[in-house]
Structure formats: C-alpha cells, structure tokens
C-alpha cells in the first residue's frame, strides 16, 4: 500500500476550528491512501454523511482501516482531494433551478483540470459520485467550454466519441457476440429484400 503525501495542500491551522482538525484516511480502488481534513470532506456530501455516520474518534481514524472508495482510482482521487482541501470552508452552491447557472473557473481549478480528457471525465464522474457540487460545476463548465465552435468530427475527437458508423459496428459486434445466428438471419433477410422479395418466409 502506498501513502500519498497528506494533507494534499497546506493547512491553515488558524482558519480551522479545533474540533475540525481531524484527518480521515481514504483508500482508492488501486490502494492509494489519502489523508483529508474534516473541513475539506464537507465539500463532498457523500463522504461527509459517511464520516458522520461512522462517528470516528481521532484514535479510530488512526487505528481502523482507511475508508475504501472502491469506484475511484488514486490518480482521480488525488485531484478530488486536492480540490476539496483548496476549497474547504467555502459555501456549497445550491442549485434549485431558480436562477441561471453562472459558473466561473478559478485559476486553481483551471490548473487542476489541465489534464487529459480521459482523466477529466473520470474527475467529473467522481465529483458526481461523491456529490461535490462545485467541483462538478467547474468540471462540467470546462467540458462545455471545449465544445465551442467545433464541428461534429472535432467534437468526436475531443469527447472520445464513436462516429455513427463505429457505433453501428460496435453494436453489430456486440449482437454477433451474443447471438451469431441472429446476425446470419438478419443478413439473409437484407439479402432477400435486396432481391425484391416481400416476405422473408
């Protein structure tokens, strides 16, 4: 098991109330361990509820196994916790749909998200899974900005999307793998249609 440097950013001790100085230990699905401040955890509704329900003491945190986050790898989780530490103590936006969403990407977030698109999508997925509202907002904003003024072909490259032809081919392959006979029947049907037959039977 490897241990990432923790906390992921310097902690401003004076800014944190005494009772919030506890650091929790989390483990990614590839066994990377992270220490995260209680205040930073509050940015994630999912993790905040989890630690509240666990009711760990400072001793528990040290003595019990790290809390496993099985769906997220270490590389992604590191970015998530870096973000949470940087934004700890900030108000969590409430989106009730009453006002249009206006999202600005701060400099720190822009640098944090200067990553390849595959990792960016993993970060978005993690932000959604851990319910980190503002991280989700800025990462979605970043993805949206990538679309500006592009053609469909350019967007396919940016968003790692298959073309309609590739999509069809993948579906056919999946169908064939599942039921080779079904594909044979379909081809036979298409051939008969080409020959002008009205009925398959």
């Amino acid at each position: 098991m490897s241990v990432e440097n923790a906390p992921v950013v310097d902690v401003d001790e004076a800014a944190i109330p005494v009772e919030k100085k506890m650091y929790y230990r989390f483990e990614s699905n590839d066994k990377k361990e992270f220490r995260v401040s209680e205040l930073a955890i509050q940015q994630s509704e999912t993790l905040n509820r989890l630690v509240e329900a666990m009711g760990y003491t400072s001793e528990d945190v040290e003595n019990k196994p790290a809390i496993a986050i099985e769906n997220i790898d270490g590389k992604t989780l590191k970015l998530v916790f870096q973000w949470c530490e940087h934004h700890k103590g900030e108000a969590i936006p409430v989106d009730d749909g009453s006002v249009p969403k206006i999202v600005e990407i701060p400099e720190f977030d822009a640098k944090l998200m200067d990553i390849d698109n595959g990792l960016l999508f993993k970060l978005i997925w993690a932000a959604d899974y851990l319910n980190i509202v503002q991280l989700l907002n800025v990462s979605c904003k970043k993805v949206a900005n990538m679309a500006q003024g592009k053609t469909p072909a350019q967007l396919r490259r940016v968003y790692l999307l298959p073309s309609d032809e590739e999509d069809e081919a993948a579906k056919r392959a999946a169908q064939e793998a599942q039921d080779p006979r079904a594909r044979e029947v379909e081809e036979e049907f298409e051939e008969r249609k080409r020959q002008g037959g009205n009925s398959f039977f």
Partner: protein
C-alpha cells in the same frame, strides 16, 4: 477510458446548461446516436430569449437579386445568414461560410430555426418575423410565403407549442399570420404587433383583414395589440375589449365607431388605453363640445358609474397624423377647465 456518453444524466444536464451557445448543442447532437438520444432525453432547454428572422432580397448582386434569410438570436448576439446562390444555399455565421449545393435556402433556413427551437421549453421574450421587400414584385410568392410555410411546418411538428411572450410580424394579409400565430402557445402570448417594416405609408385602400385571426385563442389571450398597418375597423369592433393596450391604424373613422369604442371602454374590465391613428374622419365626434387644451387638442372627460377613474378622450394631430386617444386617468389629473360629463 470514460467518454462523454458514459456520464450520468445529471452530469450531462450540467454540461449542456454550461454550453453558452445552443448551436454547440446541435453540433453535439450530430456526433453520434447515443449522444443524440442522451441530449434529446435530457430535457435540455437552449433558453433562447429573442429570435428575429429577416427575409429579404440581397442587394449584393447587380445581375440578380438573390433572396436571403437572416436569423438573429438573443438580441443580435448570434446571427446566421442563409443566402440563395446560383446553385444552392450559402450559410454564413461569424467568419465561417458553408455552401450547400442544390439545396433550397428557404427550406434550410426554415428547418434550421425549427431545429434550434425544437428543444426550447422556456418562454421566448420576443419572436419577430420581418421582411424588407414586401412591395417587390414576386417577393411574397417566391420568398416570403414559402419561407413561412417551411417555418410553419416546423412549428406545427413541435411536441408542444412554442412559448412566446411577444410576437411581431409584418404581414401583407392574414393568411401569413395564420401560418405562424396559431402554433404559438396561447397561454404565453401577451403582445401581438403587426409592423410595417418597410415604412411605407400603409395601404389605406386595402386594410388588413383580421376576421380569422380574431377567432384564435392567441388573440383572445393577448393583452397588448398594436398595428402600424391599416386594419379593418369593422372586424375589429367587438374583439378588443379583452386587451389592456391597443394602438391601431384605420382607414376611416366615423362617429358611430367612436361611440362604440367609448361604450367598450365603459364596460370592459381590462381596457386601459387605446390609440387610433386614422386616415380619414367621416363625421364629427359624437361626444359633445370639446375642451381645448393649451396645444389646441380636443378633450372630453367622462365619469362612469362604479369606476373610480375618468375616461379621457383626446383628438389631436401629431406629425401630420391624426389620432384619437382613449385612456383612464385619475380624477385629480383632469384639468380645472375640464368639464367632466
């Protein structure tokens, strides 16, 4: 490695909301089947606030005046031009141009706006369909009507009527209005304007017939109606008392018409203001002796049982145009010399 189509619904919605330009969403829809389905199921709303369509003939060619449709969205932030060419359609926006050979520019333009508005769920503040060459020979038959028909088909095929607060158009006859207005959401329409985009002096001899428009729910639900074009006053009577604000232009006005309007004001619970610009006054006004104000405008004031306010009728000439103005005013605003009847 995850891609955009692996994102959960809530994430997709968030990304779409952050797209500044609804045209980017349309481009996204063209990337692959899955994303198209995802976007279509996402309840995405482009939240277009204003849409102006201008149909005209281009002045760019000396040999032939090609038609063009210009669309502006969100108060001229986004503009797209569809131009007729010798062998197809040229689409231009910002610095980019695209030529579609053997395509009809009116059809492309009508379908494009239909597509751009297809996901619109929120109310459009202002929807304008205007033209600049309505007096040109053949303009109506070759450009204007075919475009409106393409647009009409798209509006008709929407799963729900387009919500528009203010509708503005410059028709030559009511058939053109009937291609669009019935397909707008009657519950949303507040203001209807018939506009003379070419600033001609109207056609007093041939006022706009509105008998079919008057039957529409959209007409009955609106609260403001204005028309720069001459309208048929006979058809208009009995059909405006639900409005709060009316400003119309009529060919001629008779004492009987003025009396009818005054009566309508007396019993309408909504009518607040009505201004009538007329071409010809047939009779003397039926309101008794007028009180002249400092500008020599004629005024009459009427008290009505069960109404706190006083009905003020004013007759005046302004920039060589003659008007009758009906409005409710507070009693303290009646001048000292004003004899309330």
């Amino acid at each position: 490695m995850p891609s955009l189509i692996d994102m959960p619904e809530v994430v997709m919605k968030n990304i779409l909301e952050n797209l500044k330009d609804f045209r980017d969403v349309q481009t996204l829809r063209k990337t692959c089947h899955d994303l198209r389905n995802l976007i279509d199921d996402s309840n995405y709303d482009p939240k277009i606030r204003q849409c102006a369509i201008w149909v005209d003939r281009s002045l760019s060619s000396e040999e032939q005046r090609f038609g063009e449709v210009v669309m502006y969205y969100d108060y001229w932030n986004i503009g797209v031009v569809y131009k007729e060419t010798k062998d197809g359609c040229l689409i231009a926006q910002n610095e980019k141009q695209k030529i579609l050979k053997n395509e009809n520019y009116l059809k492309i333009a009508g379908n494009d706006i239909g597509l751009n508005l297809s996901m619109q769920k929120s109310e459009i503040e202002l929807f304008e369909i205007l033209n600049g060459s309505r007096t040109d020979p053949g303009f109506r038959e070759i450009l204007w009507i075919p475009f409106l028909e393409h647009l009409s088909r798209n509006l008709k095929n929407r799963p729900r009527p387009l919500r528009v607060e203010e509708f503005k158009t410059c028709p030559l006859n009511q058939d053109e209005i009937l291609l669009i207005l019935p397909f707008l959401d009657a519950k949303s329409i507040q203001k209807i304007h018939f506009y003379d985009s070419f600033y001609t002096d109207g056609r007093p001899e041939n006022p706009l017939k509105i008998d079919e428009i008057l039957k529409l729910e959209q007409w009955k639900m609106a609260s403001i109606f204005t028309s720069d074009l001459f309208i048929d006053l006979e058809q208009f009577h009995e059909n405006y008392e639900h409005f709060e604000f009316v400003h119309v232009r009529v060919t001629e006005i008779m004492a009987e018409d003025l009396e009818k309007i005054r009566e309508t004001f007396f019993h309408s619970p909504k009518l607040e203001f009505m201004k009538i610009r007329y071409h010809k006054l047939k009779d003397q006004p039926p309101f008794g002796e007028a009180i002249l104000d400092e500008r020599d405008w004629e005024n009459w004031f009427f008290r009505v049982p069960n109404k706190e306010k006083i009905l003020k009728i004013q007759h005046f000439e302004d920039y060589s145009c003659e008007f009758y103005d009906f409005r409710w005013i507070d009693e303290e605003k009646v001048p000292e010399y004003g004899g309330i009847q």
